[in-house]
């Protein structure tokens, strides 16, 4: 029967049109990088977005005053080619590169930064990162609506290429902070041509409209499929840029992404699937990358809970966990056990806190708190967002507390939004949490547990801790500053409002064709340094 042949013709037709050379192979000559980017980005407005996929896109298309050094260490010049800091550390003068241009040819001036920072601090815009600029004089007051005169804020354009910034305190990490996308400039005429300064829904970020100042330009954006950026010839450092194009794929399913990489469809992935990591480690997979990441995986404790408000209970819970077993047998992807809140090695900071795995000590602490052998101890809940990795760790923790303390806990997983809502409203007892640094300095961690910080969520408010951090932020001298911070860290660990579990690593696969890519604590890989070579 002739109709039988139709399926085969169908398949034949679909297969035979088009090349069969893999994207990784063809990308080599054309210098096109294929990048697995996790999830579909929310948008491209640096003053509105909050996530990592957006971060990857924004560092390729825009640039701040400084850029992170791919090999780590102090930031490199970005739009600012040099800067001067006053002796007391509160006044910064940035000298902007006179060749800095917008992608449409307009010159980039200091006034652009003033306007852009005004935009992110405009309350009606609803940015979720305004506190990155709170270090500026008057910024918090402007953002909280106490004044609507932006000239009270400590940023001024002295002339077209000189920007003066005044801070509340000497903020030693300020230069590093300036590579974060929330401080990026935006092109005033473009933004206003498509909406007002505080219009979140303006179409200025669409391909064809989007204007920015980075090494790449937005070429096309196919929703949920692919975002393509191409080399920007007007970038001030354009002759250093070797890539011609980057294609970002929003692959949210880890297994699919893994398969795409193995089939030569991606140069770099966003993650490695949980199950594959130990196997790749064992087989010495040359494409596997496991690199320290400035992040801590911890359990947040609600210190307002009647049982958990006793420090002894919290310490008991912390001492009853075998962190080594968790990283070796559960997460199994090169993570390191964490004995401090701030990851060690961040900008030379090495906390000296310890959390022993000592079931005997843990039990005696629990007994002192009045729950000998776990009797009368209520069944607590571990809250986490639905994800295999979190579940596995929670299961291990559950078993360890059962065996070592005699207490039972219940595992409750919710999807992401519900989990966030519950954490925010304090509707939890113990919840799984993770914190990634926004810039390379211990302050980005320790600051979050100060009283009245929205990200605290533990109910723990300690005067002495607050004061130590205040002291640390008012000195410019590194070693003194770190001394204060270490004291704060010791205090934190002795109170244990959060139970550190492990330090994050970035695990992903990278094709050997990719060069100019260095391990980086904040996982920032500026496209301007990357090229493809075999």
């Amino acid at each position: 029967m002739k109709t039988k042949h139709i399926p085969f013709l169908f398949i034949f037709a679909l297969v035979s049109c088009g090349e069969s050379i893999s994207p990784v192979d063809s990308g080599l000559d054309a210098q096109i990088l294929h990048f697995g980017n996790g999830s579909e980005p929310q948008g491209l407005d640096p003053h509105i977005v909050t996530g990592v996929p957006e971060h990857h896109l924004l560092i390729s298309m825009c640039e701040g005053l400084t850029i992170a050094n791919p090999k780590g260490g102090e930031n490199l010049p970005g739009v600012a080619e040099s800067w001067k800091i006053s002796p007391d550390g509160t006044t910064y003068t940035f000298y902007l590169n006179k060749n800095a241009k917008w992608s449409n040819g307009d010159a980039l001036t200091a006034q652009d930064f003033v306007w852009s920072w005004m935009r992110i601090l405009t309350p009606s815009l609803g940015s979720q990162y305004p506190d990155m600029l709170y270090y500026l004089k008057g910024a918090a007051e402007f953002h909280q609506g106490k004044t609507d005169d932006f000239s009270t804020v400590g940023v001024k354009a002295i002339n077209d290429h000189e920007l003066r910034v005044e801070l509340n305190n000497p903020t030693p990490f300020f230069i590093r902070l300036l590579s974060h996308y929330s401080t990026y400039p935006v092109h005033k005429e473009t933004v206003l041509a498509h909406g007002s300064i505080d219009d979140r829904n303006g179409l200025w970020t669409r391909p064809g409209n989007f204007v920015c100042n980075g090494p790449m330009n937005l070429k096309s954006w196919e929703l949920n499929k692919q975002i393509t950026v191409e080399k920007n010839p007007l970038y001030w450092d354009a002759d250093k840029v070797q890539l011609n194009e980057i294609r970002y794929y929003p692959v949210s399913n880890e297994s699919t992404e893994d398969r795409m990489f193995r089939a030569g469809q991606l140069h770099v992935t966003n993650v490695v699937p949980l199950e594959k990591c130990p196997v790749y480690i064992e087989n010495n997979n040359p494409n596997l990358r496991i690199e320290p990441y400035m992040g801590t995986y911890f359990y947040r404790v609600n210190t307002l809970h009647p049982v958990l408000k006793d420090k002894k209970v919290r310490l008991a819970l912390a001492y009853a966990l075998n962190r080594n077993q968790i990283v070796d047998k559960v997460s199994k992807c090169g993570q390191k056990a964490a004995y401090s809140f701030t990851p060690p090695g961040s900008a030379g900071y090495e906390p000296d806190t310890e959390i022993p795995f000592d079931p005997t000590l843990a039990r005696s602490l629990l007994a002192e708190a009045g729950y000998k052998d776990g009797i009368d101890f209520p069944v607590l809940e571990i809250l986490f967002n639905t994800q295999e990795g979190h579940r596995k760790i929670a299961l291990a923790v559950q078993q360890m507390w059962q065996e070592n303390l005699g207490i039972s806990v219940q595992l409750v997983n919710q999807d992401w939004k519900v989990y966030l809502a519950r954490e925010m409203t304090g509707d939890f007892q113990i919840s799984r949490a993770g914190w990634i640094g926004d810039y390379e300095d211990p302050n980005t961690f320790l600051d979050t547990l100060r009283p009245n910080r929205g990200n605290n969520k533990t109910g723990w408010e300690n005067e002495e801790y607050d004061q130590l951090l205040e002291l640390a932020n008012s000195t410019n001298e590194q070693s003194l500053r770190y001394e204060y911070l270490m004291q704060a860290e010791r205090l934190l660990i002795s109170e244990m409002p959060i139970i550190p579990i492990y330090t994050y690593v970035r695990q992903y696969q990278l094709s050997s064709d990719v060069k100019g890519w260095y391990p980086n604590l904040l996982d920032t890989h500026h496209p301007k340094f990357i090229y493809l070579e075999r």
Binding site: T3, I6, P7, I11, L14, V15, S16, C17, G18, E19, S20, S39, E40, Q42, G43, D45, T50, P123, S124, L125, G126, S127, Q128, P130, D131, Q144, R200, N201, G202, L203, T205, R206, E222, L223, N224, K225, Q226, Y249, V251, S252, N253, S255, T256, R259, M260, R262, A263, Q265, D415, W416, K417, V418, Y419, L420, A421, R422, M424, G434, G454, N455
Partner: protein
Amino acid sequence: MLQVILKRIAIAIPVILIVASLTFFLVRMAPGGPFDAEKVVPPQVMKNLNAVYNLDAPLIIQYKDYMFNLVQGDFGPSFRYPGRSVTEMIFTGLPVTFELAFYAIIVAMIIGSLAGIIAAVKRNTLLDYIPMTIAMIGICMPTFLLGPLLVLYFGIHLEVLPVSGWGSLAGDKILPSITLGAAYAAYIARLSRGGMLETLSQDYIRTARAKGLPEYKVIINHALQGGLVPVVSFLGPAVAGLIGGSFVVETIFQIPGLGRFYVEAAFNRDYTMILGTTIFFSTLIIFFNLLSDIAVLLMNPRARSEA
């Protein structure tokens, strides 16, 4: 028949409105809002965000506004993707899902009907048992099992087909279409076999055979129509199932279709996107049910009088 169609359409409209209202209130009851993020949103920022999206008005007012816009065809802005409207997103994802479903149905109908008809004609022989067993496997195997298996074999082991994408690489539409169509091919095989068997046992078939007509003519001229009727009437529910199946296939194969948008919107609490997609899918299903009912009526005069 026109009357039947008009009546059905007249009922469909209030149904869609009820669906919209139901979904509206259901979604709002959910804990967790569209703007919750890991880094806590300062209260005044939250206030501003809620004001921009009209989330601080009383629920009834929001409902009224939404319905009013809906009737004019405006689904509102996406909460999660600033600057994008729901309509835009639906019409970006829809063609892709349509194309996927279309290929899947073609695969299912061709393979399924052929298998079913052959099985019916060669009843109780090997040509009956083998296709029907394969069909059974198709029904019993979850899509999320079949998909990865196919990818593993054809994409990674044999390296002849791409493992993901839609329209980016040659041949990347094959595996998803087959994966999605497989379960339906199986159902259609069984349905057409059943319909075929029933038709073959009718009197007029016996008459045709008695008259000396060659067997293949008997099948093509008389039996085929009867064998295909159940398949056509299955199309309506099939579309409904395909929408669900597309979620899985689109996730496994990274296809930018409406199904994937929907699942993400649900998890992200993108209220307007959830509503828009639900309403859209409902309308689609109602439409396809109507189409398939009409097709059945056209093909089977007896059913017409029963209508």
